[in-house]
């Protein structure tokens, strides 16, 4: 019998007994997403990595960045 194995495109689930998990789900996965990083197609693959968006470390210290946002200004005042 030829068989095509189900891939866990539906993600992680522990909501039913292992044999009857919702279709396309699995009881074991980590750092995998349903959209691949190679071409953006809908298929399972490793998640994108975390990289620095800015080289500066806030306060040059090891404390967390507790809040982020943006502000819009009018440039002509010559703000820094």
């Amino acid at each position: 019998m030829n068989i095509t194995f189900e891939l866990p495109l539906g993600g992680y689930s522990e909501g039913a007994n292992v044999e009857n998990l919702p279709s396309n789900t699995t009881g074991d996965m980590n750092n995998v997403r349903p959209q691949d990083t190679l071409s953006g197609r809908l298929r399972i693959g490793q998640r994108p990595g975390l990289g620095k968006a800015f080289t500066q470390q806030i306060a040059s210290a090891s404390g967390p960045v507790v809040v982020l946002g943006s502000v819009s200004v009018v440039e002509y005042l010559g703000t820094d």
Binding site: F5, G11, Q35, V71
Partner: protein, 878 residues
Amino acid sequence: MATQQDYFIPTGELPSNVANIWTNINTKFLATTFTASATYNVTKVSLLLSKMGISGNANVSIQSVDGESKPSGTDLTSVTKKDIRSINQYNGGITGGNSAWETFTFDAPALLTSGTTYAVVVKISDYNSLKNYVQWWYEQPSGTATKISYQSTDSGSTWSLISETQDTTCCFEIYSNYAVVDSHITGTGANVLTLGGAYWGNQTFTTTANHLLKSVELNLQKTGADVTLSTINVSIRATSGGEPSGENLTLGTIYGSDVDHTVAGWYEAVFSNPIELADSTMYAIVIGAPGSDYPSFYARGTSTGNVYEGGTQGYSEDSGETWEEQSADTDDLWFKTYGIELDAGEGVSPESDQVTVKKLWAIGSNEFWYEDVNGDLIQLAGSVGELDTSEPLIAQEAYGKVFIANGTNLKIADFANIKITTTNIGSHPPDFGTVLTGGTSNATMVVDYIDALASAVNIYGRRTSNAPFQAETVTGTDNDGNSISFTGTAETRPPHWYDWTVFGNSSTFGEMPNYATLVALYNSRLVLAGNKNYPHQWWMSRAYNPYNFLYDPTDPLTAISGGDGDVGEVGDIITALIPLGNDFFVFGCASEINIIDGDPSYGGTVENLSFTEGIYGAHSWCLDNQNNLYFFNGHSLSMSIGGRNKPVDLSSLHLPNWANDWGLIQDEDRIVLTYDFIRAGIVIFKTNLVTGANKNYFYSLKTKGFYPEIHPRECGIFSSFYYNSNDSNTRALLLGCNDGYIRSFYESSLNDNIGDSDSTIKSWATLPIQPLNKDPDKKGKLTELVFELGGGESGGTFVDTDSLSYEIHVGNSAETVLEDIKDGATAYISNDLTGPGRTNKIRPRARGHYLGIKVYNFNTDETWTLNKITGKVIEAGN
């Protein structure tokens, strides 16, 4: 508007020649030489690039050349661009290879002289893997090229041609700012005029073309280290009898604080109102710093020989009323005028549709940081030690300012207003919205906030004139018709840092809560909550005025708080403030969700959205691109359509024990939700406040599935924000991390960065456990197995999977098989697969009732994707 000057571009749409160039080691540089076709200030360069993997910082410079026309090693100007992630990934194509123009804007312009040869030099720094490199695309033009490309493998010490057999030129475009129209910059520099106070200077000049004047550059130097130099006004006037005449035709400024005293330099005054100057006409550049003492700065030029024939210098002792020449006709100031030459009747294209600039800001370790003009994050000096990030803290942007609620620390970071200071405001201080005028400068501003009503006062407001405020008498009229007059200092540019109080810090304008940890913007009002003594209470400022908290029932725009009008306090402890447009406002509470519908000062009502679900914390919610509200209630993920319909549970089917599985402890763990619109999902982060240990889920809006993730502790998420930057390089979903860095998810990142190094992403997935026989009492045998890994075939156009490992487990029940896999039991068979595409047949001969296949990759600098797995199963008895 930048002007393209010299360039070499592909003859077709894409570079047509084979191959490309690798800069995959730190010591390898690339360069292309060119001869300037005109004299201009180079401001930026674009290069035709693609990349493999990830890339570090790119340094691009303009260098002079040596006697062999190779780069000399001397930078005339340069820029180091942070992680150039926006460069397109090489797609393996021979032609074009998915390359695109990447622009590098230099830190400072550099003057290139017509007929002189220069070099564009490229080097990559912070490079960390042989798999990652940048490619600069070239062509090999027929005939003898006038622009030649070189390579160096010893960090620019020696250079060789990229091709010894055929001229090769990498594709580039050089841009300048506005062209220099008229100038005098010859001879040896000297201090020609000594200026300051009522002592002004001028240089007359005769135009050589009909043009639109955009700016003027002058060579200046402050007279001493202890001199305070205020704003320098630079204007253009007509002339009569060889002297300045009439009013200013246009006015620009140079900030005195920018002018150095140790070395002379060129400083540019940009005219926000450019004017058209006629050809062959004499005009005057008038220079003065009326707000400074005399002497305070030198205007420099030549004092012997090298006479400028188109005009001469002069000075005034009465602020430009009358003029004299300094000494001999041979004295001239150095100057450069910039503009756009115009033919008769020629129109000018709009410079830009951009009217605002966005700046990212971030708070961590008790400090406020923000994005400068170079795209780097810098500290707001006044904020150091003014916040306590060990306490709850939320901040909200409004009116060009950031309003911060951090317990007793209610603060403002002001990016919109200028500041002037007085030691005595007089008997009639300005009101919110008062227009003030500078008596000498004629500058005007609209008052936004003052920090006191008497004696010494700091005044913040929006300048509405081109001219800046100097040290001068400032006047106006208050709301009651009283005259305002005080002596103010020269203005200070934003940003500013100050306490958020009511206007003038006076109870006349109401009373703010003494403690708040939540802030939001709703219906033009700043909203405060999160007071531990009044946890059900909320406060809203007057509409359009964040400094007025006085309740006035006769004012439809009045400030208001719970119980002032028809809307009372919320019936539960407020944990989150969620504005959803100007129609309604959501109070997330410990066990409920309530809505204020409409304006609370004018017919607004309170409704309950849920009596059974609350919102875990101030960060535990987000909105998608259709304004649907997602929130974590402490045990599951829920969604409210449009933010005002009954919540729908999204996770209990798959994650019935979510809180227990995560070991959630509310006073130890932060839950952050964020909407990733690029990947169409909600990311739910759980981070331990002390250690940064984390567990996370990606919830896909496409598949409706949950995907668990773990990040390194350094990358534990404490905050998130989608930054819609003006710069596409920094436009991304940003994540505030445990170690003080701001990160984002990047498809090109194969690992997680943890500061100075990378951490391997360990990824795995177990396929749904498969019965091997339709009869549950009988076994089956897997006799063949074939994997198909993503990427097509190796070397093709599609990006390839690096490698993938697999394990096969069998057992008597599905649960046993899954348990074995999760417990790390020895697999029946395991192996590694490399490269993309379809693998050879594997013959596992795995026999049992149930089969489990686990795929995984624990390797550094690798990623993978899986298309399918097929196999063949036969009956195998009992």
